[in-house]
C-alpha cells in the first residue's frame, strides 16, 4: 500500500504539489489523472525517493520513503516514462542488473530473471541489445526490470504512451494479473480509454491539489455525467 500525506513541493516560485494526500490500496489499480504540470510526475518522483517533499510524507508498506529509503524502495517497482535503458546492454543483462541492485544473487537471481523474462515474453529478444529494440520491446524490458524482485507495489508513469495495440494488450493483461495477486498498482495516464478499462480508483489532481477521488463511475457522476474526458475537464475547470 502506498500513501501520501500532506505532500508539498516547490521549485523556486512554482508550487508543483500543494498539500496533496492520497492512498493506493493493495489489489487495486489506482490512477493519477491530471494534465501536464498538474503535479503527477513530481508526486511519482517523491514516491520513488528521487525528490524529497518540502512537507508531508510518502509511506510504502509502512516504510517512510524519506526516513527508511532503502526499505521502502525494496518494496517498490517503478516504471519510468522514458524507460532509461542502456543501449549497449542486452535485455537479459538489464533484468539481471536490476535484480542485483535489489540484492538478489545466485539461484534466486537466475530464477527471478527467468520469471521476469517469461512474464513479459522476452525469450526471443533476451540477448538483443537495447539499442535495437522497438518501443514496445523497450517498455517490456523496462517492466521486466521493474518486477524482477517481485515488488508488492508498482508505480508506472504513463506506461501505455507510445505503445502499439499489441503491447498495450500485453501490459493490460499483466497489470490485471498483478492486481489479482494483490499488488498495489499506482499509475499516471492521459489515455482515458486505458484509465476506464483498468482503474479501480481515480485520483484527479490539478495544480498540485486533489480535485476528486473515487471509482471511475463516481468521478464521472461528480463531473456532471457523460464520459470520463468530459468529467475530467469539468472537474479541473478546463471545460469552462
Amino acid at each position: 500500500m502506498i500513501t501520501g500525506e500532506g505532500l508539498r513541493k516547490r521549485f523556486g516560485a512554482v508550487t508543483a504539489v500543494d498539500g496533496f494526500s492520497f492512498a493506493a490500496q493493495d489489489g487495486a489499480i489506482t490512477t493519477l489523472l491530471g494534465g501536464n504540470g498538474s503535479g503527477k510526475t513530481t508526486t511519482l518522483r517523491m514516491i520513488g525517493g528521487l525528490i524529497k517533499p518540502d512537507a508531508g510524507s510518502v509511506v510504502i508498506d509502512g516504510a517512510d520513503v524519506s526516513q527508511a529509503r532503502r526499505r521502502a524502495l525494496s518494496r517498490l517497482g517503478m516504471l519510468h516514462d522514458e524507460f532509461g535503458l542502456y543501449p549497449r546492454l542486452t535485455v537479459v543483462e538489464h533484468v539481471r542488473f536490476a535484480g542485483q541492485l535489489y540484492g538478489l544473487s545466485g539461484r534466486k537471481l537466475s530464477t527471478a530473471v527467468e520469471g521476469a523474462v517469461d512474464a513479459l515474453g522476452l525469450h526471443d529478444i533476451r540477448n538483443r541489445f537495447a539499442a535495437g529494440l522497438s518501443h514496445g520491446q523497450r517498455m517490456k524490458t523496462a517492466l521486466a526490470r521493474t518486477i524482477i524482485h517481485g515488488p508488492r507495489n508498482l508505480v508506472l508513469d504513463e506506461p501505455t504512451r507510445g505503445l502499439d495495440v499489441f503491447s498495450v494488450r500485453v501490459l493490460r493483461e499483466l497489470l490485471k494479473r498483478f492486481r489479482a495477486d494483490g499488488v498495489c498498482l499506482l499509475m499516471s495516464s492521459h489515455a482515458m480509454a486505458e484509465v476506464m478499462e483498468l482503474s479501480d480508483r481515480l485520483i484527479v489532481i490539478d495544480k498540485g491539489r486533489l480535485v476528486a477521488e473515487g471509482a471511475p463511475a463516481e468521478i464521472i457522476a461528480r463531473g456532471g455525467g457523460g464520459d470520463l474526458e468530459a468529467a475530467f475537464l469539468n472537474l479541473t475547470g478546463v471545460a469552462a
Binding site: L50, H80, E82, G84, Y86, F97, L101, G103
Partner: protein, 368 residues
Amino acid sequence: MSALTIFLKEFIDLLRDRRALFSGLAYVAFGPAAVLLTVNMLAAQTRETSYAPIKFCGAQSALLAQELTAAGLSFDPKASICVNVPDDLEARLAEGRSARVHVRGDLTAQASTIRKVESTLARFSSTLGGQRLLARGVSSSVASPLTVDTQTTNSFSRQADIIARVLIILFVMAPFFVAVAAAADMTAGERERRSLEPLLAHPVGAFSIVMGKWLAAATLGVAGTAACIIGGLALLEHSSLAELGIRLETGLEAGLTVTLYLVPLTLLVTALQIAVGLWSKNFKDAQSYLMLMSFAPAVLGFVMTGERLAQAGLWPLAWELAALSGPLLKSTTPSAPFAMVVAIELALTFTVLVVCAFRLRSEAILSR
C-alpha cells in the same frame, strides 16, 4: 556489493563502447608514436650528414667556387640553394672594393648547408680583409679587437631539456586522456539518455553508485596509462633520443615505476572526471570541460620548471611532473616521499567521491 554490481555493469558497458575505447586507446597508441616521430625527425636534422649541393645563379666565380668546394660543398646545376654574385665580383675584389653576395635557399629544410655556405664565405671575407690590411701596412688584429672562442660542453642541452620535459608531460597527461570519454558517458551520458532516474530509484546508496562508476573509469585509466607508459618506453627505445643528448631509461623497471607513481594521480583524476561529468548538462558539455582539464599537465609542465617545480612539493600533478625525471632520466632532483603523495591524493579522491555522492542525491541532477 552494490558498488561491485555497478562496477561490473559499467565495465561491460565500457568494453562495448567503441567511442570511449577508441578515445582512450588513441592517446595510448598515438601519443608515444608522435613523440617518437618528432624525436627522430629532430635527430635527423641535427645529425652530421653530407651537405646539399649548391649552384651559382647568374654570374659564376671560380674564386668562390674553389673556396666553397674546399670547404666540402659541391656544385650541381639542379641544386635548390643558390649563391648569387655580381658579374664583376672578381674585378671588385682585385681592386680592393666590396661586393654583395646573396645566398638563397630553404632555411628550415637546408639550414646546415646554408650555414656552411655563410661561414665559408665569412671566413674567406675575413681572410681577404686581413690580407688587404697587411698590404697597407696595418695588422689584421686592428680590425678584429676581440677574438671570441666558444666551447660548448653540450650543444644539445636546451633542446634535450625541452624534449625530456615533453616526454614527462606526455606520460602525466595519459591519466587525463585515457578515461575521458568513459567518465563522461557514465555520468553526463547516463543523465542525457534518462537512465540515471531508474538507477537512483533502486535501494542503493549514492556513494555505492559513484564508487562503482569511478572504479570502472579508474580501471580503464590505470590500464591505459600503464599501456601508454610501458608501450611508449618500448617504442622510444628505438628512437634517436641519445643523439639529442637524452639518456632515457626505457626498461620495464622504469616503466613500472613511472606507472606506480601515476596510479594515485589516475585515481584522483578519474574522480574529478566523474565530478565534472555529474555537473555537466550533457555528454558534449562534459567532454568539452574534460578536454580542457586534460591540458592541465601541459600548462603546468611548461609554466613550472626547475626550482619552482621542486618547491611545489606535495601538490598533485606538480609532484608527478617533478618526480618522473627520477626513474626516466636518472635525475637526482629531490622530491617529497611517494607515500605522502599517495596519502594526500587518495584523501582528495575520497573527498571528491563524497562530493559526487551528494550531487547524485541532489534533485538538481534530475532536472532536464
